[in-house]
Amino acid sequence: MTDSATGGSTTAATSDAASHVVEIRGVDKTFARDGRVVTTALQGIDLTIGKGEFVSLIGPSGCGKSTLLRLIGDLTEPTSGTVTVNGKPATRARLDRDYGMVFQAPVLFDWRTVEENVKLPLEILGWDAGRRQARAREMLELVELQDFLRHHPYQLSGGMQQRVSIARALAFEPSILLMDEPFGALDEMTRERMNQEVLRIWERTGITVVFVTHSIPEAVFLSSRVVVMSARPGRITDVIDIDLPRPRGFETREQRRYFELVTAVREALRHGEPRDAVGSLDRAAAEGAIG
């Protein structure tokens, strides 16, 4: 098994300018209050993501990884710099419905059944009823929830709800999937199952994924590249290529190379910390536990 054999995924090294899905140049993001800068969330960000890549953003709380994801998705605008998606400004890409979003909370609507939740973006895009129905079923089959079409979200477990949310994000075939700590609220076992699921979907669809997480094993297991960030101000300190073979599965987590890469990411995270490294790591952990 080689990585080129599955899902059409290409690593950053082989991608050329034409196949860039995301191109971020010199982006700063500051939050101001009463005209004064309160927080520098991101500073001097340059990042290129190729077609079909699976890129994780990892870093301590407050490093701006979620903000970076939201910049790509045009949920917030950069203070300076440019974000280009599929060769056009991020806003244009959003209006063209290039994005699928998955948040930490499933954000399902209580008043819709599972199937109707998946249909929501298709309704907004103006698909006709027959196509909506077929696609919703197809997507729910993809996340293996075809038996729960008529259920309401409250009748599902947290993991199942998040799978519905993924099905909804993929339903209208966006070219890029943005996931903001989608499995942060799940327990470890469910999270590993969901990781496997996401990989399977990614391999089948060949979609480009940007994935925010604060779990090192998760980032290594899923990604073709891991972008390591540091806080105050939020910067990219390292980008690590993950050359684990695909398809990845249960045994991947027991490979020697996997542990080496986990260690490499951990080292990079520590390296990116400012002088009082240990203290702020503890603080970050504490903040992560609260928020």
């Binding site: 939050f31 309160v38 927080t39 969330a41 709380s61 407050g62 701006g64 917030t76 928020g291």
Partner: protein, 312 residues
Amino acid sequence: MAGTTASAAGLQPVAARRTRAEGASRGRRAAIWLALVVGLFALWTLVKALGGVPWRPIGAGPGSEMIWNPPFRWDFANDLNLPHWWNIAATLVAPVQRGADETLLQYLAGAAFYTWREAALGFLVGALLGLVLATIFVHNRLLERALVPYVVASQTIPIVALAPMIVFAFGPSVTSVVIIATYLTFFPVTIAMIRGLRSPDPRALELMRSYAASTREVFWKVRLPASLPYLFTALKIAATASIVGAIIGEGPGGVPDGLGRAIINFNQYYITGPEKLWGAILVSALVGIVFFMIVRLVELAVLRGRPGAAEG
């Protein structure tokens, strides 16, 4: 939207930001309120100017000179249905009766204070009753299931309907009025406090259990403090309700000194002097708002420093 986006992005010190935002907007809010009151009077004047009857000088009879002749004649805007606000103001500072040395405003202020005292008494008794009932219900599920439906049902009975009988049973006196005010007050407090006393985080109760704390200690140290926001929400409702109860009770209660009687009296003479009823109603509204504000101020003082304490 901008605020929620920023906080979702990890701008954390929410409490600090909130208090600063309030400080900035308090002055603006006062200005908005002032503008609203002025706007209301302006609208009132405009309606009278467009569709009222011919304007005449304050206190002058129908035959006197015309100051302004409105282009339309709307029924609801004539001097009987919608008196000029300056005529109401003039009536308020005029003697309450021919030859009396007390102005209407003085009379109404006295009546308002009288009614407020009845209401406040009923409010206190009702709030206490509500607290006791809620405490019992929270600690005894059986009693809760047996009795709470009747606490709820009690409020479907229109209190005006009970008033004549309460007055008959207890005599036409202030006591009857206070009982009526109590009846309207205890309900919101009971219901809110059942929820409030149950509101503590289960983990907080488990923590107390790990300390082997007694029920009494759990009540005073966890349940009651946790319930305070609920209590004040209910007390604000109860403040108005107690005024309503007192006003309603004064009619059949035969209490001659309060606002209820004033409203009934002036209602009977509405044809000859609508301004008096309007004055009485405005003062009633004012009493309700003032009582509400008093409770709100106490709430602000008691809940100071709690998240969300400064909101409505």
